[in-house]
Amino acid sequence: MAREHGRFLYTVAYRLTGNDADAQDLVQEVLLRVRRGLETYRPGSLEGWLSRITTNAFLDEVRRRRRRPTVALPDDPDRVLAGGDDAEAALAATTLPDDIQDAIRALPEDFRVAVVLCDVVGLSYEEIAGHLGIPIGTVRSRIHRGRAALRGVLVP
C-alpha cells in the first residue's frame, strides 16, 4: 500500500511536470506543504488532499517560472484532429508511454492540469473544478480540448 501511494504522488508530479527533475522538485515542495498543512488537515480522502496540494504547488510553480512558453490551442477543432482511421490504428499499435508523456508535456498548462487530474488522478469534473477554483464548464472544455490536442500531437 505504501509503495502504491508513493507511486501515486510521484506519478502525478511526473505527469504534470513532464520530467524527473521537475517532478522531484514538485514532490519536495508538496512534502513541505504537507508538513505546513497538517494543522489544517481534516480527516478525509488522503489522495484528494495530496493531489490538491500537488496541483496547487504545480500551478504556483508554473505561474512563478513560466519556463516554457504557452502555445494556445487552435480554435478550429479540425486542426487538432488530423488523422483518420488508419492513423488511429497505427497510433494504437505504436504509441509508447514516452510518446504519450511527451504529448502531455506539450499541452498548455491549463489543459495539461485538467487532463492529468481527470485521467491520471481520476478526479471527477466537480472535484477538479473545486481544486482549481474554476467553473465546471471550463473544466469540461479543458478536458475535452486537451484530449483532442493530445491526439493531434500523437498523430502529427
Partner: protein, 295 residues
C-alpha cells in the same frame, strides 16, 4: 463546441456524465455525423492512452537526496523528519518511529499513567495525517513494533514486550486490519487500514476528562461506556474518544463518522461486561505477569 457538433459533450459521454436519454441522443447524432464520430474516436483514444500510462517510480538518487535533507542531524535540516520518517537503517528507522510516535502528538494534559485525561484530539488528527503522509510518500515508513501479521499487542504480551498491557486494540476492527503499532510516551498508537482508508487508534491509561474536550462535540455510548465524538468542522464526527477499563481510546478515521463509530463498537468489551470468572482469571494473570521476572 459549436451549434452543429457535440464538442465537449463527447467527453461527457466518455466519462459517463450524461443521462441515459442524453447519451442515447448523442450516440444517435454521432452515428450520422462524420465530424463528431471522428472527434469521439480521437478523444477516446487520447483518454485511453493517458489512462493506460504506468505509474512512475521515483529515482533512487532522489530518495537518497530526500533522505539527506530529512534526517534530523546536526545540520538542523530535519524539518521533514516527522512527516517523512524514512527507512535507512534499523537505527534510523527506530529514530523515525520515535519521531512519529512522540514529536507531534500531545495526547493528554496529564502525565503517564492513570489520571484524568483530556486527549489532545487536535494532536491526534495531526498525528494521523503525519503518519499517513509518511506512508503515502512511499519512500519509507517507520518500522512497526509489530509485523503486520503479528498478533495484537494484548493477546501475546510476551512476544510483543514493547507494547505493554492493558491496551485493548485487537488485530482487526471490523474490516480494518492492524497495519502498524507504535509506542508513544503515554501509550500506544495503532494504525489500521481498510483499502484506501486509514484509522488511527491511540490508547493511554487513565480516565477521560470529558469537560476538557472541545466544546463542539457530543456525548454518546459505545458498548456501554461513555464516549464523545468531535463534531467540529475539522473532524465532522470522525474523531471519537471513549474510556474502557482504565484506558482512554481516541479513534481518528478517514472514512466517515459512521465508520469510526462502527470500528469503536468492534473494540473488545470492557471487563465489566465479562463473566465474573473471566474477570478473576484476567486479574490473576495480570498479577502473575507483574510478578514474573520477564514482566
Amino acid at each position: 463546441m459549436n451549434d452543429l457538433h457535440a464538442g465537449d459533450a463527447l467527453s461527457d459521454l466518455l466519462d459517463g456524465r450524461l443521462t441515459v436519454d442524453a447519451a442515447a441522443a448523442l450516440r444517435a447524432h454521432v452515428i450520422g455525423c462524420a465530424h463528431c464520430s471522428a472527434e469521439l474516436d480521437a478523444v477516446r483514444e487520447a483518454r485511453a492512452s493517458v489512462r493506460s500510462l504506468p505509474a512512475v517510480e521515483p529515482p533512487t538518487a532522489y530518495i537518497e537526496a530526500v533522505l539527506a535533507i530529512t534526517e534530523p542531524d546536526e545540520r538542523g535540516s530535519g524539518r521533514l523528519a516527522a512527516v517523512l520518517p524514512l527507512r535507512r537503517s534499523a537505527a534510523m528507522a527506530n529514530a523515525a518511529a520515535a519521531v512519529v510516535a512522540g514529536a507531534f502528538i500531545v495526547l493528554g494534559a496529564g502525565g503517564a499513567g492513570a489520571g484524568a485525561v483530556a486527549p489532545g484530539v487536535g494532536g491526534a488528527v495531526e498525528q494521523h495525517a503525519a503518519t499517513i503522509s509518511a506512508i503515502s510518500t512511499g519512500l519509507g515508513a517507520p518500522d512497526p513494533l509489530l509485523p503486520p501479521d503479528e498478533v495484537s499487542p494484548t493477546t501475546l504480551p510476551r512476544r510483543s514486550t514493547d507494547v505493554p498491557r492493558p491496551y485493548l486494540a485487537p488485530k482487526s476492527l471490523g474490516a480494518y486490519r492492524l497495519a502498524d503499532a507504535f509506542r508513544s510516551e503515554r501509550g500506544v498508537y495503532l494504525l489500521y487500514q481498510k483499502d484506501q482508508y486509514a484509522l488511527s487508534v491511540f490508547e493511554q491509561e487513565g480516565n477521560v476528562d470529558f469537560a476538557g474536550l472541545p466544546a463542539l462535540g457530543e456525548r454518546l455510548q459505545v458498548g456501554g461506556d461513555d464516549a464523545w465524538r468531535w463534531t467540529g468542522p475539522r473532524a465532522d464526527g470522525r474523531v471519537l474518544v471513549l474510556e474502557r477499563d482504565g484506558v482512554v481510546i481516541t479513534l481518528v478515521g478517514d472514512e466517515s463518522a459512521g465508520a469510526v463509530l462502527a470500528a469503536a463498537r468492534q473494540l473488545p468489551p470492557g471487563a465489566r461486561s465479562l463473566p465474573i470468572g473471566t474477570r478473576v482469571r484476567r486479574a490473576c494473570g495480570d498479577a502473575l505477569d507483574a510478578l514474573s521476572p520477564a514482566g
